[in-house]
Symmetry: C2
Subunit: 348 residues, 2 copies
């Protein structure tokens, strides 16, 4: 249950994070999120049978729509879109474009990881093979830019293409650093920025750019806020990978480590326990890896590294929220603050 | 050697197709193609070590740069770019963006096909694995849009995103039709349009849109010209897949058929020989497929289907060339006509 802060008008425990925002965001927010949803459905339907069949599970069937929510909230925080049908359309297109890039990444990630399920649905790669998964992801990327191009705003397109490049660079950086136990924390944070924070940044930036008061300075400030939230989101996700439990995360503990991916809990644990500093991730390769990694997760947890990582993430969120009033002095920042809380809430 | 038509000023046999165009295109063309080349190098270098290492073989090391050439020639046919450094930059960015999308597709295609070599260089997938290949392709897509976004022209971005969507849809259509021997010729042509012609179209369209006289009507007309050239290009490529020889194509005969992909020669051969109409591509699956497909290629060739397919492609090229004088009455169409010839020349 949610323990909402920010002196909000929402009673603690009234609803889970994002639901609470929808409940208290007003009619405009609800309508815009519903239009985003219908627009996403249209995009997949337009692309014809292959995409409709394959991408449905990834796009239409689910997801928290956290990134579109950031787009809409950022726009509303910046005075809302112009009060015309086209103004509303532009906002919805921006929200759709961000979610399409996110979905493209998920399809390609599932392919890469050989994942069979995503949000309880079979992945495109599992159902249709890697050939279709590659093409479906490419199509989703292309559609994202096609949607956003209709807004006729180069700044918006730059924001999305920068984020989309960052996502791919983050994946490449992760491969480059695979099995490198000594990766410094700065490099880990850089990877989180690329893989997660950049698209959060773009979401808020795009929202601001579609709004009547969305100056580029405000877009920068909201982007910086969202970047921190995205960073914390990834840091907490990495804590969950080590802490489990399986029932909560839907995947076995230590999947990142098994994959050679060094994350914050491991980095911190290595500084806390000399024996761990000598641990070779290579030793997890092979059939016995799944059992060994469980023990490694326990050792990491025993050092207190999970708490430290969690605290670092919470500090990033607190920092982001503290900056909000200066960005949005008129108090429209409450709902964005709630998004920050919702991100933390997932991991409580 | 090239036998250039179009009553051109280029002596027949003087040089191979595209080289002849470079030799006779004037200093402006050469300078713009060189700038495109350097810009492509910069894009890969900027992206840092991972991309620089992995994409180099695909982008920098080679390719005929046919699509950037179409961009530049279309721009020059439409009055050239504005005579400012920024005008030249915009043209080069458009050429770079088209080549980046093409390169992204190659990286992903090689991954899908499990290809080890491309243009004599090891593929990204072969060197670095599918994970890096997926991300490298995604990065190239993203960079393409990032480059083009700098031109601040929504029409250009729409053209590129439409082509990029088409490429992915073509791949999905090909998967959907795999092992469907009865695929009608219209559907085959539609696939060629999506997989190849759409990006040719975008190349000429983008060139026109960066030029001083590049009205949207002219962009449409040049795009339609390029679309036909692209269609012929793909049809002839599909003839080569059946005709070989290996020394010329660098791949064994019938790779498309082995993959379940029905192309024009097979479609035509089926109408010419009743026994072939009963042939099941499924029978090529398994270890003996490579030998069986060689025999199938011979049977297709024996029907005369290769000549018919080649003639159909040449008719498409002739049609495209015949339309040029009406599009570009001032005679600037000669070099574009030579590109059409060069496409045919590859297959003589």
């Amino acid at each position: 249950m949610s323990a909402v802060s920010m002196g909000a008008s929402i009673p603690a425990g009234a609803a889970d994070g994002l639901d609470a925002i929808m409940d208290h965001g007003g009619e405009g927010l609800r309508r815009r999120m519903e239009r985003t949803e219908r627009h996403l459905e249209r995009v997949t339907a337009q692309a014809g049978a292959p995409l409709a069949a394959h991408a449905n599970a990834t796009i239409v069937a689910g997801g928290k729509r956290l990134r579109p929510l950031l787009v809409v909230l950022a726009a509303e925080s910046a005075g809302g879109p112009p009060e015309t049908p086209e103004g509303e359309e532009r906002l919805v297109r921006a929200a759709v474009a961000v979610e399409l890039v996110h979905s493209a990444t998920l399809v390609h990630d599932d392919l890469i990881d050989g994942a069979l399920l995503r949000r309880g649905h079979p992945t495109v790669a599992a159902v249709a093979g890697r050939r279709v998964a590659v093409a479906t992801g490419d199509l989703l990327f292309s559609r994202a830019f096609a949607e956003l191009a209709r807004n006729r705003d180069a700044a918006q397109l730059r924001a999305l293409s920068r984020a989309s490049s960052a996502l791919a660079e983050g994946e490449l950086l992760q491969r480059e650093d695979a099995y490198a136990e000594h990766v410094p924390v700065e490099r880990y944070l850089r990877r989180c920025e690329l893989k997660t924070a950049a698209l959060f940044d773009a979401a808020c930036r795009l929202g601001a750019l579609t709004a009547v008061k969305g100056s580029s300075a405000l877009a920068d400030a909201l982007g910086a806020f969202a970047r921190r939230i995205g960073l914390a989101f990834q840091m907490l996700d990495d804590v969950l990978d080590v802490s489990g439990p399986v029932e909560r995360t839907g995947k076995s503990r230590g999947t990142d480590l098994l994959d050679g991916t060094v994350t914050l809990p491991f980095i911190l644990a290595r500084t806390r326990e000399p024996e761990l500093a000598a641990f070779k991730l290579d030793s997890l390769r092979g059939a016995a890896g799944h059992e060994k990694v469980e023990a490694l997760c326990e050792r990491i947890a025993a050092t207190g590294a999970l708490e430290e990582a969690r605290e670092q993430a919470l500090a990033v969120v607190a920092e982001a929220k503290a900056a909000l009033p200066a960005i949005l002095p008129d108090g429209r920042s409450v709902l964005l603050g709630l998004v920050a809380d919702a991100v933390v809430e997932r991991y409580r």
